[in-house]
């Protein structure tokens, strides 16, 4: 959508002093954010890529372009298992959190007693660090934890060893529990905000026209809250794929998720492994990038089909 401003700037060829001043002001106003993000964020990504291709003169290594680090990494089956684990934890927790968040937002939109208090309460996990969630998972879900004690109380198990292992397994239910606990409020906030913005009129109209509740949800509500769903699931999935602390503490050990693998490479005394770590980091970025951009592309296509964008 070309706008009047830019049209004036570029097509007339001549700019008045006022216009030029406005342009300079605009550039000056955008400069800090552009510089910070381009230099830090872009710079970090470019450097990571260069290093993973063998450019590390500060270690006395410069074999750029050298694909052997990627070759070694992608050639090992451990990498693919790690990648699978990383995506599995990320995907399962995002899906569970999303379903829970949609149900919660649909309940929150209705009036009920104590709603003001509830709106404080449900945001609690959003406000505190992931490490707190991990501590709570250790306390609740560990073999000597509260859940295990409750099961002993009702006579289901006789000693802590009988408790089904939740933490430190490759099924990762402890990790998933932490992500879900922390991200349901985040997704609910996003979806609830969209619900507030659109009002309930279209749903009521559908109900009066005789739509069933299932029809109303899938044909009216879901398409409306899709922007909130897409943005919050994108953010949460990307976070889950790149997170370190939960898989490090609650994971099942080797094979680890990719961020933990990268960290171990990186802390290796052998400098050459740092480049391997960089290749791991870049692989995380590439995989996450491909998945997220495909997701966005599908979503945009859907919006275009509906004629919304």
């Amino acid at each position: 959508m070309a706008t009047q401003d830019t049209a004036l700037d570029t097509r007339s060829g001549r700019r008045s002093t006022a216009q030029r001043n406005a342009l300079f002001l605009r550039i000056a106003e955008l400069a800090p954010i552009v510089i910070v993000l381009f230099v830090l964020f872009g710079g970090a990504l470019v450097l990571a890529l260069l290093q993973s291709l063998g450019f590390a003169p500060w270690f006395g290594i410069n074999t750029f372009p050298d694909f052997s680090y990627f070759g070694a990494l992608w050639g090992s089956s451990a990498f693919w298992v790690s990648l699978g684990l990383t995506l599995y934890y990320g995907l399962v927790s995002t899906i569970i959190a999303l379903i829970m968040a949609i149900v919660l937002s649909l309940a929150l939109i209705k009036p009920f007693r104590g709603k003001t208090l509830y709106k404080y309460l449900y945001k609690l996990p959003l406000m505190i660090p992931y490490t707190v969630g991990i501590a709570l998972a250790v306390l609740m879900l560990g073999n000597g934890g509260i859940l295990s004690r409750l099961m002993a109380l009702v006579g289901m198990i006789d000693n802590p060893g009988d408790f089904p292992q939740i933490l430190k397994t490759h099924y990762g239910w402890g990790i998933i529990a932490v992500y879900v606990w922390k991200q349901v409020p985040f997704m609910t906030l996003a979806i609830y905000a969209v619900l507030l913005g659109i009002g309930r009129e279209t749903e009521e109209a559908a109900a009066i026209l005789g739509a069933t509740r299932r029809q109303i949800f899938f044909s009216v509500t879901l398409p409306q809250i899709l922007p909130g769903i897409v943005s919050s699931t994108l953010i949460c999935f990307a976070f889950n794929v790149g997170a370190f602390e939960a898989p490090f503490i609650l994971g099942g050990g080797y094979p680890d998720t990719l961020p933990v693998v990268a960290w171990r490479y990186f802390n290796d005394a052998n400098y050459a492994f740092q480049l391997q770590g960089m290749a791991t980091v870049v692989s995380i970025g590439i995989v996450a990038g491909v998945i997220l951009f495909a997701y966005l592309a599908v979503y945009r296509r859907y919006e275009r089909m509906r004629g919304r964008a």
Partner: protein, 285 residues
């Protein structure tokens, strides 16, 4: 029929009622055993309550043993709290200075490539943190910034800027131009307009953005852990070091409660400030 239809929109179904209670229990429930754990002296499996509470040992320690440790300098809680505050405040101030002018342009002006630019501003939210963290660490080691406040503060800007700029843009959009135009007609200078008209009107939004940025910064683990190099600890990294073995003793429970405290305080004072719009805004539309 119509009455029934309205009912489904204004009343919770029994399932929804149950669900709200269940979610609340899942969210708040675990904090109860956490508090008990921090006050326990001996709490063996399978007891649901400690067999020996600290009170029964009070001749040995006037305050709960775990809390005695948590509140002593040995736990490094004060150091971590101080670092979290300093880093959070610095990040918030710098972030505001960077995002405020950008938010004005994004809210008020249109230019070619604006959509792509906004997408670029959201990118840090969807690039895995581990990738950024390790890559930045390499740069910062070479610049001598690893393990320094400056390095951590700079790194924290990456995940905070996208939220801050979204929240401030929403605030600017909600603010009409009329008052500024009036001031301009009355002969106010650009600086006067900014100082006496725009900023006071932006204030509530700025406070909300600042609180939220502080919150995000104080919750960051990975970037602090990677870039702090163990030299600078904040509350999340302190807790990580206490629980990285996979167990939670009484003092770790106390530290967990301390680490939750800033978030709980911010929740109480900021609930009404948090603009839900900033979260509802989608990617690429």
């Amino acid at each position: 029929m119509a009455r029934k239809a309205t009912n489904t929109f204004t009343h919770l179904s029994p399932f929804q009622r149950f669900y709200l209670v269940a979610v609340a229990a899942l969210i708040v429930g675990p904090f109860l055993p956490l508090i008990i754990q921090s006050l326990a002296f001996r709490w063996a499996w399978p007891n649901l309550l400690p067999t020996v509470w600290w009170m029964e040992q009070r001749e040995r320690s006037p305050i709960p043993l775990a809390w005695d440790y948590v509140l002593s300098p040995y736990s490094r809680v004060y150091e971590a709290t101080f670092n979290t505050m300093v880093i959070g405040i610095a990040v918030t101030v710098i972030c505001l200075a960077i995002c405020l002018p950008a938010a004005r342009v994004l809210a008020r002006e249109s230019f070619r490539g604006k959509n792509s630019f906004e997408f670029f501003l959201s990118l840090p939210l969807i690039v895995p943190e581990a990738a950024i963290g390790i890559a930045l660490l390499m740069i910062f080691i070479n610049l001598g910034l690893a393990g320094s406040y400056v390095g951590i503060i700079i790194a924290h800007l990456i995940p905070t800027i996208p939220y801050m700029v979204r929240m401030l843009t929403a605030v600017y959009q909600g603010l009409g131009r009329e008052f500024e135009e009036q001031a301009m007609i009355l002969g106010a200078s650009r600086w006067q307009i900014l100082r006496m008209v725009t900023l006071p009107m932006l204030m509530p939004g700025v406070v909300a953005g600042a609180l939220f940025t502080f919150l995000v910064s104080s919750n960051i683990f990975l970037l602090t852990f990677f870039l702090g190099q163990g030299k600078i600890i904040t509350l999340p990294t302190l807790l990580f070091s206490k629980i990285s073995g996979g167990t939670l003793d009484a003092s770790a429970a106390g530290i967990t409660l301390i680490v939750s405290l800033p978030g709980i305080i911010l929740l109480i004072i900021s609930e009404r400030f948090i603009k839900e719009e900033a979260f509802g805004k989608g990617f690429g539309n």
